[in-house]
């Protein structure tokens, strides 16, 4: 069976000449929880955004579910994007909008473009939005403004928004980097549930190796845009660690 996501020779050169990705290739299977690790600046965010073309890759291909994402038309790209949920380090909620509006935004790829412009969503989408909020324990905050929530709560709204998309794949870019360890685990557990119980593939970039060990099925590591490791979390021994994080790096925890 073909993998759900195939990334081949992906290269991203930014306008200023920075080579953020340099020939990265890997596969992601259905139901897989893939962690992406690497130093800051190694290209993790760039990689995740190239998958749904929030950033245009310079070279290489991304094939998702048998569709070539890299050459899809704008129209097709939207169809692809709506099945790929995304969670961000800084939550990326629309601060001045209500929580429920933020969650409903997850349906934008599905709903009627004209009706949505006047903030009309089908009743079942609205019901679903409340359901998702309930699921992340924020039902009572639905009508608060997003910026009235704490960081952990905001990230849960972010998760709910991603789930609204009925995603087959979730891209999570350091979803817990700005949260404390307890909150981090609670968010990671949501991802775990999505992954294990609903069979959604997850690609998640992480900074903490203990989180990688705890949640990931497989790990890829980037260093200056080059894929330097691919394997299970257990395979990261000291030698690999130094290769990924550099000679001077110390293992903590």
């Amino acid at each position: 069976m073909a993998p759900m996501l195939e990334v081949r020779d992906l290269v991203k050169v930014y306008d200023d000449g920075t080579r953020a990705l340099d020939g990265v290739s890997f596969d992601v299977a259905d139901n897989e929880f893939l962690a992406v690790i690497g130093l800051s600046g190694s290209g993790k965010s760039t990689l995740l955004r190239c998958i749904n073309r929030l950033i245009e890759p310079t070279e290489g291909t991304v094939v998702w579910d048998g569709i070539d994402v890299t050459s899809a038309s704008q129209e097709d790209l939207r169809r692809i994007r709506r099945r790929i949920g995304m969670i961000f380090q800084h939550f990326n909620l629309v601060n001045r909008s209500k929580v429920i509006t933020n969650v409903l935004a997850g349906r934008l790829g599905y709903v009627n473009p004209i009706l949505s412009l006047i903030n009309r969503f089908p009743a079942e989408d609205v019901a679903k939005a409340y359901e998702q909020l309930d699921r992340v324990g924020l039902a009572d905050k639905a009508h608060n403004r997003a910026d009235e929530l704490s960081g952990g709560q905001q990230q849960r709204v972010g998760v709910a928004r991603a789930l609204m998309q009925d995603p087959k794949l979730v891209l999570a870019d350091e979803p817990v980097a700005s949260l404390d360890p307890v909150l981090a685990h609670s968010i990671m557990r949501y991802l775990e549930i999505i992954n294990k119980e609903e069979g959604t593939a997850v690609i998640c970039s992480l900074h903490h190796l203990d989180l990688v060990h705890r949640y990931a099925d497989r790990v890829i590591a980037l260093n200056e845009g080059v894929l330097v490791f691919e394997g299970t979390p257990e395979e990261i021994d000291d030698a690999k660690f130094k290769e990924i994080y550099g000679k001077e790096a110390e293992r903590v925890g």
Binding site: R78, R82, V94, Y110, N112, L117
Partner: protein
């Protein structure tokens, strides 16, 4: 390395220091020269500042500014003539001095003279500190006067003036005339408004107020004249017969007028020795006026019955009488009588107690006139200031409405990612002229359809509702993308067709609503003129813009189709074929754009040279297209977004840097002098300025939400509505308010260039040296600008 440099350091540093000093010296000299030139060219001159006449001018203006022309006193000329004989002729008898009563008097000494002699005029009994203009009234069958001089009366109301007798001789007496103006509004300030129907806030003196009492009273503030003590006052009825004659400081027998021979009744109290708010008044119980006894000083009750006054209802009938007197700072008399009594032709005559002669008569019907009223200038100023504010309001609204959408295409962060493959772009551009033509045709069809019902408002409404419903349903169905469903033939053909019909329907709806507006406008014009006019004009505007709108929409749709075609070509044909096809397409598109630019240049320049404006641009455009196609061999997408961004920014910056005051000149040429030209100029400037400010706000929004919304598969419009709009609402409101402030300021002076508003009036008055009038306008500007400023800052606080 560091060691190497240390020894080399000092000399170099020294050298640099020397250069620096030289540079500074040169800069100082240059600055010196620059300021000298600036002084020279701007005519800086202390002489002008110090010159006596200039200063006098300045003070004159400043004084005028301190007394803006806002209030107007109705004035009455007081004319006093004194006879003079030129030359002396003992055979002619001089007539008496003529004037109103025995108030102001004028004598000439000597009372006869030869031309060229110097004679003296003496005036007394005039109002204090007023201007008197003196004239010589020659014996002539025409109504002519020769101006002699102007004087100001002393604090006692007197003046003396010597003049040379003019070369006018006659056997008849001639006259020296003194004319003063009495502001007849100025002495009615104390009028109490209690039966007021007069908009000026002045009691109507023609009747006593209605009352449930048998007696009613009316205060009558007196004109400014010196009331004599001892003295008296008589109330005379409409037939000239005295009703009563009261006196103070003693009794006398009237010597003149219809009252001659009548003995006065001393009231026994002193109407002069009353304090603020006091009077002498009649009180007690009674049936005829004489029953009420005079008391006082007591608290004044002008306009009401006096304290302790109890009239018997049956007795007081058809008698009006003097009920209260106060000759303090603002003399006032109260007349009482049966409620509703007509006062129109009653007269008060004042007597001198010494000689029993009357010196002043006050006719009740017309002596108490208007209080100060707004001058014509004030009314004009008000009209213009309303115009000014409305002008700013319209310009701000229109500018904001246009600037909001434009700001999105001038925002780098939204446009940066708009990249289109060259084939798509080329075909889209080639589609534009076709689209324009199609759009115009569609508008024509829509017009035809609308004409079926036009002129009948019922049909209009029905058709409009039907069409709008159909468009709404149709459009929603047509754009609804089914979840991942493979597109059937229905989708491929029916949906675009419905979309197309919806577009046609939209323009039909525009024509229908335009027609409806015009019908309703015509109907309401009779009832409420300006509303009807507004509706009608809106209808006309909609009708006028429908064709260009349709052309633009058509261009957009066909361009979109071209782009689609490009996408099909790229995905269905082999890559090399696409690359080859790209060359002719790009060349043609480049030529199209260039020819369009050439046409614009031709329109402006009227060169009439097709080689320069058609062929050469076409060639250049084609070559540029080929160059792009060549480049596209490597890099598919062309950054159209960024190009549009740069064009928009350049246009906005260019427009913004032209002052509205200059723009209005162009519009005045186009639509004529007036507020319309001003609104257009301000609206254009506002659009450009706000679009720039807004787009900077769009650029500064946080990109996170934008990214997140895009990642959900949202369209560009959805991204703007869900990620951009919530972030920009507060700054947009704030900038609109800021712009509103600027527009109010601008609209006050845009009239200088013919753009309407108060500036026009101001400039006119300044040019006519009417500084007091101009002062009113300046005051109005200051008030409006300050209050709008305050208002907008309060609103800004609320919203942001």
């Amino acid at each position: 390395m560091a060691d190497d440099r240390v020894p080399a350091g000092p000399p170099e540093k020294k050298k640099r220091g020397w250069r620096r000093s030289l540079a500074i010296a040169v800069a100082i000299v240059a600055a010196f020269v620059l300021y000298a030139i600036a002084f020279q060219t701007t005519d800086v001159s202390l002489d002008q500042l110090q010159s006596e006449t200039r200063r006098e001018q300045l003070f004159k203006i400043l004084r005028a500014l301190a007394r803006p022309d806002l209030i107007h006193y109705d004035q009455e000329d007081l004319v006093v003539d004194a006879p003079i004989l030129v030359p002396c002729n003992p055979a002619v008898e001089l007539p008496a001095t003529s004037g109103p009563g025995t108030g102001p008097t004028l004598t000439v000494e000597p009372s006869c003279a030869s031309p060229g002699d110097i004679v003296t005029v003496i005036g007394s009994g005039f109002r204090a500190d007023v201007d008197v203009s003196l004239k010589f009234v020659p014996d002539s069958e025409f109504d002519v006067t020769l101006p002699l001089d102007r004087v100001q009366t002393s604090a006692e109301g007197t003046f003396t003036l010597s003049f040379e007798v003019p070369e006018r001789t006659s056997d008849n007496p001639q006259f020296v005339r003194a004319v003063t103006s009495i502001p007849i509004g100025s002495w009615s300030n104390r009028v109490e408004v209690w039966t007021d129907t007069n908009l000026n806030g002045v009691r109507d003196p023609s009747a006593l107020p209605a009352s449930d009492q048998p007696l009613s009273a009316s205060p009558l503030p007196l004109p400014e004249f010196t009331i004599r003590d001892p003295g008296g006052v008589a109330l005379i009825d409409e037939n000239g017969n005295p009703i009563e004659l009261l006196s103070w400081g003693g009794a006398f027998e009237a010597q003149s007028g219809s009252t001659a021979g009548l003995a006065s009744t001393d009231i026994g109290v002193d109407p002069f020795s009353v304090g603020e708010g006091q009077s002498v008044q009649r009180t007690g119980r009674g049936a005829v006026p004489e029953d009420f006894a005079w008391v006082g000083p007591a608290p004044a009750s002008f306009g009401e019955l006096n304290a302790g006054q109890e009239p018997f209802p049956e007795a007081i009938r058809s008698r009006v009488f003097i009920n209260e007197l106060a000759f303090g700072d603002s003399p006032e008399v109260e007349v009482a009588g049966p409620p509703g009594s007509d006062l129109t032709n009653l007269t008060l005559i004042f007597f001198d107690g010494e000689d029993g002669k009357q010196y002043k008569s006050v006719k009740l019907g017309d002596t108490i006139e208007l209080s100060p009223r707004l001058s014509d200038n004030a009314i004009n100023t008000w009209d213009r200031i309303v115009e000014t504010v409305m002008l700013a309001f319209l310009a701000t609204t229109v500018g904001t409405l246009l600037a909001v959408p434009l700001s999105f295409i001038a925002a780098r962060n939204l446009m940066r990612d708009v990249k289109v493959p060259l084939v798509n772009l080329g075909l889209a551009i080639l589609g534009i002229p076709v689209g324009l033509a199609v759009g115009v045709q569609i508008a024509r069809w829509a017009r035809q359809v609308a004409l079926l019902v036009e002129g009948n408002w019922v049909l209009d409404v029905v058709a409009l509702v039907a069409v709008l419903l159909a468009i709404w349903r149709g459009a929603i169905w047509a754009v609804d993308v089914d979840e991942d469903a493979t597109r059937t033939i229905v989708d491929r053909i029916a949906r675009p067709t419905v979309m197309f019909l919806a577009a046609v329907g939209f323009f039909v709806a525009q024509y229908l609503s335009a027609d409806l507006l015009m019908i309703v406008g015509t109907a309401t014009t009779r009832a409420i003129g300006f509303i009807g006019n507004f509706l009608f004009t809106m209808g006309e505007i909609i009708q006028t813009i429908t064709t260009p709108m349709a052309a633009l929409v058509g261009a957009g749709i066909v361009a979109q189709l071209g782009s689609r075609l490009g996408y099909l070509i790229r995905t269905k044909l082999p890559r090399s074929t696409v690359k080859i096809l790209e060359f002719p397409i790009a060349a043609a598109a480049g030529a199209t754009v260039a020819v369009f630019i050439g046409a614009v240049v031709e329109w402006f320049g009227q060169f009439g040279n097709p080689v320069a404006t058609v062929y050469v641009p076409a060639a250049i455009g084609a070559v540029y297209g080929l160059y792009l196609a060549f480049r596209a061999l490597k890099n598919e997408a062309v950054g159209t977004g960024i190009v549009i961004y740069y064009i928009a920014r350049t246009v906005f910056n260019a427009l913004r840097s032209i002052e509205p005051l200059v723009m209005v000149i162009v519009f005045v040429v186009w639509v004529g002098i007036g507020p319309f030209a001003g609104s257009l100029a301000l609206a254009l400037h506002t659009t450009a300025a706000l679009a720039k400010l807004y787009s900077e706000q769009v650029e500064s929004i946080s990109s996170g939400p934008l990214e997140a919304i895009r990642a959900t598969g949202a369209t560009r419009m959805q991204t703007i509505v869900y990620a951009v709009v919530p972030q920009i609402v507060p700054p947009y409101i704030s900038f609109t308010m800021y712009r509103w402030d600027i527009n109010v300021r601008m609209s006050t002076i845009i009239g200088f260039a013919g753009g309407g508003g108060i500036g026009f009036l101001l400039q006119q008055n300044i040019n006519l040296l009417q500084y007091r009038q101009a002062a009113a306008q300046m005051l109005a500007i200051a008030i409006v600008v300050a209050s709008m400023d305050y208002l907008s800052s309060r609103l800004r606080e609320r919203f942001v």
